[in-house]
């Protein structure tokens, strides 16, 4: 099963830092997300896209995880050479994780 079957996601950007939310559709799936969508898996999945740290914040009350990725946006939206300078498509990359 893909993460996309259990959760939805949105990416935000501030400077060269990206944040990616992972939000369970159903509250009962949150525990599985917390157990399987770890910092290590996210780092491994995104590989070279993240040059800095990956930090995870857990929000059980909202059934959500929030990943913060530093040095992940090619210097930031205002100077990046990337086609998706905001990194907005990162949410879709996360949802491709196998669960």
């Amino acid at each position: 099963m893909k993460l996309r079957d259990l959760a939805h996601s949105r990416t935000g950007d501030k400077g060269n830092t990206s944040n990616i939310s992972v939000i369970a559709y159903r509250a009962e799936d949150y525990a599985l997300l917390e157990a399987t969508v770890t910092v290590e898996r996210v780092r491994q999945h995104l590989g070279a896209l993240v040059q800095g740290e990956v930090v995870r914040y857990a929000l059980p009350g909202l059934g959500a995880l929030n990943f913060v990725l530093t040095r992940a946006l090619g210097g930031g939206v205002t100077r990046s050479l990337a086609l998706d300078a905001h990194g907005k498509c990162l949410s879709s990359a996360i949802l491709d994780l196998d669960i």
Binding site: N19, S21, Y25, L49, T78, L81
Partner: protein, 449 residues
């Protein structure tokens, strides 16, 4: 219990205008807030102002005001916006001109200034860039703009002074929405719990359609009706800071617990420490409850004392970016696009272009997430080569696009649709300054009938 209804009229500079008109006409709102300043907008506006002292505010300001002011005046709706960008005074004058032209006076316009701290930044030698730790003074000649994020206070003062329209430059996005709540309910500026709750409302509302079904649809997984007529959000807020997020009945879009959760975490790092000039907000205990169709209740935000420093966005010239693109389609498209990529890479070496940074991507294959995540994807029918590089001069930047365009007659078969661009880069980094170095000011302008 008294409740205040706020609407969002825009979530970015180029946003749709009709949803704002819909809110002004049928939203039963008291305040209409337009958030139109992205990170870099104010630096670009500063450059525009250097060329023309009457420019430097949002290019759609006049169109937006002409569209919404008649209904706002009729329905007693006050407008709050950061569309003043680098020139709030000129923006105020432009709004006054619109009001006079449409015969909408008398009206009071407040202009908020004080966010421009270029002088402070140039005078201080001890500041460092948040991103790299390097000294800010290193930017020296390349510095274009320095704007501190102001909080809600000057907007509250403007509303107390009876302003019908409040125009600011750089203000923290949630503060634009928090200010009318402070004004209406008389919240104390250091009642951190209430300020945290009002900041949550602002945070949910600041991107307009992003909480009401925009940027959410994923067919088959998350379906959203009628995005071509997306309704912008309304927050109905009580004196205790709890709010209901809703929209005009019959408008497109969707407001659900899921849309609110996505927006709650948008551009948030530590949800328990969301820093604004007004508060250190804590969203970790927020509850989100669906009350009915397109009605969601949000409550439970908390807050702690505001940060001692204010964030300052620094715009600076950062060289040039040149870019070229060309497409390949049909059988063998991917192999021809890869050949084209190799040719351009070699050409850039042969001509000895001094590139600070370069990337060569295949759009449709690996341009967004790189070669690893796309490795197992099937071969696409069409592929577009994109070459982008950073240079010191415009002339050098132009040569990148030329090398891609040159593939027409010098590259693989069947290349089409070549485009090229070269532009100056105004980049943004940030620093922190003590808040007592920033003095927000409110200037009132009267529009007579």
């Amino acid at each position: 219990m008294k409740r205040v209804r706020l609407g969002t009229g825009a979530g970015y500079s180029g946003d749709r205008i009709e949803p704002a008109v819909e809110l002004a006409e049928a939203g039963d709102i008291r305040y209409l807030v337009f958030e139109c300043l992205a990170e870099r907008t104010i630096a670009l506006a500063q450059l525009a102002k250097r060329r023309d002292p009457s420019a430097g505010f949002d290019p759609l300001l006049v169109d937006r005001m002409a569209a919404v002011l008649p209904a706002c005046r009729r329905n007693g709706i006050s407008i709050i916006t950061n569309m003043g960008a680098a020139n709030p005074h000129a923006a105020g004058a432009a709004v006054a001109a619109v009001a006079r032209f449409l015969g909408l006076g008398p009206m009071r316009i407040a202009v908020v200034t004080g966010d421009d701290v270029t002088g402070v930044i140039r005078a201080r030698r001890d500041l460092v860039l948040e991103e790299t730790g390097a000294p800010v003074s290193g930017l020296s000649d390349s510095l274009v703009s320095a704007n501190a994020y102001l909080g809600a206070d000057p907007i509250v003062r403007a509303l107390k002074a009876g302003a019908d329209v409040v125009i600011t430059g750089r203000v923290a996005d949630p503060s634009l929405f928090l200010a009318p709540l402070i004004h209406e309910f008389g919240w104390a500026a250091d009642d951190w719990s209430l300020i945290g709750k009002g900041t949550l409302v602002g945070h949910l509302m600041e991107c307009a359609g992003q909480v009401s079904g925009g940027y959410f649809a994923d067919p088959g997984y998350k379906d959203v009706p009628n995005l071509a007529r997306l309704g912008f959000p309304i927050a109905e807020v009580g004196a205790d800071g709890a709010a209901t997020i809703t929209k005009v009945a019959g408008s497109g879009g969707l407001i659900s617990a899921a849309t609110c959760r996505e927006q709650l975490l948008y551009e948030v790092h530590d949800p328990a420490r969301y820093l604004t000039p007004d508060v250190t907000a804590d969203f970790s205990g927020v509850t989100i409850t669906e009350l009915g169709h397109d009605r969601v209740r949000v409550a439970g935000a908390q807050g702690d004392a505001w940060p001692d420093s204010l964030k300052v966005s620094l715009g600076y010239s950062d060289g040039y970016i040149g870019e070229g693109q060309i497409s390949y389609a049909g059988p063998g498209a991917l192999a021809r696009a890869r050949l084209a990529r190799d040719i351009v890479a070699e050409r850039l070496r042969i001509i000895g272009l001094p590139l600070r940074e370069v990337r060569l991507d295949l759009i449709g294959v690996d341009a967004i997430h790189g070669p690893e995540l796309s490795a197992t994807a099937p071969e696409p029918y069409e592929v577009r080569l994109r070459v982008a590089g950073r240079t010191h001069t415009l002339k050098e930047a132009e040569r990148i696009g030329n090398e891609v365009e040159g593939l027409y007659t010098n590259g693989p078969a069947g290349g089409g649709g070549a485009t090229k661009t070269a532009k100056e880069v105004i980049a943004v980094q940030s620093t922190l300054i003590p808040r007592d170095l920033v003095t927000p000011q409110v200037h009132l302008m009267e529009v007579t009938p």
